[in-house]
Symmetry: C2
Subunit: 260 residues, 2 copies
DNA sequence: GCCAATATTTAGTCTCGCCTAAAGATTGAG
DNA sequence: CTCAATCTTTAGGCGAGACTAAATATTGGC
């Protein structure tokens, strides 16, 4: 294609379905390395054939590359669009819990719709009102306005050694039931967790969290992301070097208020 | 049509275009008595033929009655839907100005999109956070959750007699330029206005508002709605009887904060 | 290395909202 | 009363997004 002579190429704004596709593809790509047609279909509760159709359109718009039967990969353009929507989603979730008193299991659906309707101005005003938070109520990192985000992977409670103490970092916001249950046993981003014991044969784990000792199954345990406690005395200066993150984020993320 | 045997008739949620059509038709109906195809088309910036098509669909859904070539009238169902959207719009506008610091000329477009995405729960939380306001930043009355609203018509500055003092009530939120200009001369809902003089042949009007004496043309004057000052001493108890309004609204509407 | 199970794409439709062009209805001026 | 100007509706199309059913590609088990 030839060079573009007129600067105002006027990128037509992305539609709501397009934004949701890009977001889903981004999350599958970072989580599992690649985004298969059927995975996207499942994530968006749509027929696989619909995904194929949408993917072709997105490819012609330069938002992703598609090798038929092989999978899909976001272009820079597509990734930026995805991160913009994710930023909106997470700022909205944070605002709804912190300012408007939403329970943390109710914000996802609301943000899923508002993320497409709110202007950049509104999102930045909310972010400012919150003091520019770096994580949402579920502990998910909030991308910056210029599209940077902490993409490191993390251990889960299932990976803990008996006796180990860590800080809860994050949990998926997709399952309200799980979120309500976690809130009931005081598991929320920021709390300290110690693994007291682990039953054999993939059995339940007994934790210490706050002043309770909940017993959780391994399925739940694998869904709760953790981070090490900040080094209490020893090797302070040894910050990991290959850190892709740009938000100079030494502080323990999520000094969130309770999600009620 | 036969009786409905199964209670959960599951009314499919209205789409964004449908909500905007109903809102526009409602406003044309109350403002000018009827809603002509071309008026709706103009209000929504859409071709007249598109309006005819949409109207047919809305009629089959029982949201309005349509007599071809004669015009359109909302059913109770349609009117309730319109008022619900209008309530959302006005609460959102109020929240954006009061809580998030929006200028009053910027809220309309934002609310025009958010009104379709926000849940009832969110709207009611915003309303509660504002202390359940009864008017939006432009002085427009906010319908109640059960669909009641003050539909009285009002005089404008153009109707003032020289020397008369009244309170500004309301102005349309559709023209940001006008809103910015009004803010510049301190004309906002709630302020007292006195007509000092009126030039002949539909000429400019000199007002006293706050401590300024703006001179405005008759076009502008006709767009600014006013209400009488609360009776200072005399006939207190003589409230108008045929009042359709249900919100027991004796207070001067719009004790709004400044729209910045 | 083949072949059946699985994943993906193609083919063919559908509904919603919008458009333009053309036809039909209404109305007001004379 | 008539007819031209002004609505309004009809006819025909289009793109976005979804679906089902049918074809095709990939892959893993043997
Ligand atoms: Mn969404
Ligand atoms: Mn979240
Ligand atoms: Mn709208
Ligand atoms: Mn308004």
């Amino acid at each position: 294609m030839p060079a573009r002579p007129t600067p105002p190429a006027a990128p037509p704004p992305l539609t709501e379905p397009v934004e949701d596709y890009l977001k889903a593809i981004y999350e599958l790509e970072t989580r599992s390395g690649a985004a298969a047609t059927s995975d996207v279909a499942q994530a968006l509760r749509v027929a696989p054939a619909s995904v194929t159709g949408m993917i072709r359109r997105l490819a012609t718009q330069g938002l992703l590359d598609h090798v038929p039967y092989r999978g899909v990969q976001l272009t820079d353009l597509g990734r930026r669009a995805a991160l913009r929507t994710i930023r909106r989603h997470r700022i909205l979730e944070t605002y709804l819990t912190q300012v408007l008193g939403y329970a943390w299991d109710r914000v996802h659906d609301e943000a899923e719709r508002l993320e497409h309707a709110a202007s950049d101005d509104l999102i930045e005003r909310m972010s400012a009102a919150l003091g520019h938070p770096t994580a949402d109520p579920h502990g998910a990192p909030i991308p910056t306005a210029d599209g940077r985000v902490d993409e490191r992977t993390h251990r889960t409670i299932a990976d803990l050694a008996v006796g180990e103490t860590v800080r809860m970092l994050r949990v998926s916001d997709k399952d309200p039931e799980l979120l309500r249950y976690l809130a009931g046993i005081a598991l929320q981003p920021g709390v300290e967790i110690t693994l007291l014991s682990r039953a054999p044969f993939d059995g339940p784990l007994t934790l210490r969290v706050a002043d309770g000792e909940p017993v959780v199954g391994s399925t739940l345990a694998a869904q709760v992301l953790i981070e090490p406690l900040p080094a209490r005395n020893a090797q302070r200066a040894v910050t990991p070097t290959g850190d892709r993150n740009t938000t100079t984020d030494a502080r323990p993320r999520s000094a969130r208020k309770s999600a009620r």
